[in-house]
């Protein structure tokens, strides 16, 4: 090695080591740092004026997060056991099924739901608590008219911070559970969904048939000519 290369090496080597050590610090999902999100309480949707069926077409991740399953990076990381889109799809399916609002298949549905997931997990808090946030945007499409309505739903939850890893996992899990439940309730009990489902049903009266128009016009004439 030439002596003149030594300063470059002295400067570059620590940076290289730092890069590798940072890569080694990246937390990996293990059974000890993975949580499972499931709805603890049943979400009761609002009652609709007539029986309707929904079909969940797809759930799309729009969070833009490169690692949607990682909830936090600190303290060895906390991970979700499934993709957030899968969790939301499962929770919404279960809720609709329990309330007999879920269509068996796409053709039998009155409304198609496309869920866009903008945030799932923890939001930015003060650092002294866990701020759970689930932000959804649901496109409700009326199958018969083809008309779509966009509905936003937000679920939040705040839980105290914890020091022990076990409690951190417990609090984060409870926090996201509650935020998901709150977001689904906000969607299914929202006035926006009621408007989207009820308003398009108030269709204008169908235009009269050609035969009816002819009968209406012909009636006075008929009498007049009969008399003659």
């Amino acid at each position: 090695m030439r002596v003149r290369n030594f300063p470059y090496l002295a400067f570059g080597l620590p940076l290289l080591l730092l890069r590798f050590s940072a890569a080694a610090d990246e937390p990996k999902p293990t059974p000890e740092n993975t949580i499972s999100i499931k709805l603890e309480n049943e979400v009761k949707p609002q009652t609709f004026p007539r029986p309707i069926k929904f079909f969940i077409e797809k759930v799309v991740d729009r969070s833009g997060s490169p690692e949607p399953m990682r909830v936090i990076k600190e303290r060895g990381g906390v991970f979700l056991d499934k993709q957030p889109t899968e969790i939301v799809q499962q929770a919404l399916t279960d809720t609709l099924q329990k309330s007999t609002l879920l269509a068996a298949d796409r053709p039998s549905a009155d409304y198609l739901l496309t869920v866009y997931l903008f945030h799932f997990g923890l939001g930015e808090g003060t650092g002294y608590e866990f701020f759970g946030k689930v932000d959804l945007n649901v496109v409700v499409k009326n199958v018969s008219t083809g008309k779509s309505s966009e509905i936003t739903a937000l679920g939040t939850s705040i839980q105290g911070a914890a020091l022990r890893k076990k409690n951190i996992l417990k609090n984060i899990q409870a926090n996201i559970d509650e935020a998901l439940e709150s977001a689904l309730r906000n969607f299914l009990r929202g006035t926006k969904l009621r408007d989207a489902v009820v308003v398009p049903d108030a269709k204008p009266a169908p235009p009269p048939q050609a035969s009816e128009i002819f009968r209406f016009v012909a009636r006075p004439l008929k009498g007049r000519y009969d008399h003659a």
Partner: protein, 163 residues
């Protein structure tokens, strides 16, 4: 002796009745709405959602309502008379100055936020609370702490509001 027993029984009865009445929530439901910012107010983007979450959490903890419902959720018409809507607007936010805070030994220069808060009865839109509330924290603190203090003050106002 019998007289004392009777008095004691009456006192116990009154105390338990008072305690149970105190524990009962004041409202059937409270709908919390997001507080929009007035023109020119620059707060962190997450502030609005954080304040919304803090309000729901604080009102829940204070046991002010049987049910805390999210924004624009349906309410049973039978409960409307005993249900309220909480809405507001952030009027002013001052970032504060650490230097000024040091120079005045904490008497000025802190972060502050003023919000206009309105509480309406759901059935007839009767205004039950309509006032400006100001909160402050040290200039070094995260601005979201303002949301926590504001939620606490609003809950206090709601608790002491006569039906």
């Amino acid at each position: 002796m019998r007289k004392y027993y009777l008095l004691l029984a009456a006192a116990v009865f009154l105390l338990t009745t008072w305690a149970s009445a105190k524990d009962q929530p004041k409202f059937k439901s409270i709908e919390v709405k997001h507080f929009p910012n007035a023109e020119g107010v620059e707060l962190p983007p997450e502030f609005s959602d954080f304040l919304y979450a803090e309000l729901k959490e604080t009102l829940q903890k204070k046991n002010l309502a049987e049910q805390l419902i999210g924004e624009d959720e349906v309410v049973d018409s039978a409960d409307a008379a005993q249900s309220v809507i909480l809405e507001g607007r952030v009027l002013e936010y001052k970032k504060g100055s650490v230097v000024k805070e040091q120079l005045t030994r904490g008497w000025g220069g802190g972060r502050s936020l003023t919000a206009h808060v309105k509480m309406l009865r759901r059935s007839n839109n009767e205004v039950m609370i309509d006032k400006d509330i100001k909160v402050g924290v040290p200039a070094m603190a995260d601005p979201k702490h303002l949301a926590r203090f504001l939620a606490g003050k609003i809950a206090g106002e709601m608790k002491h509001e006569d039906r």
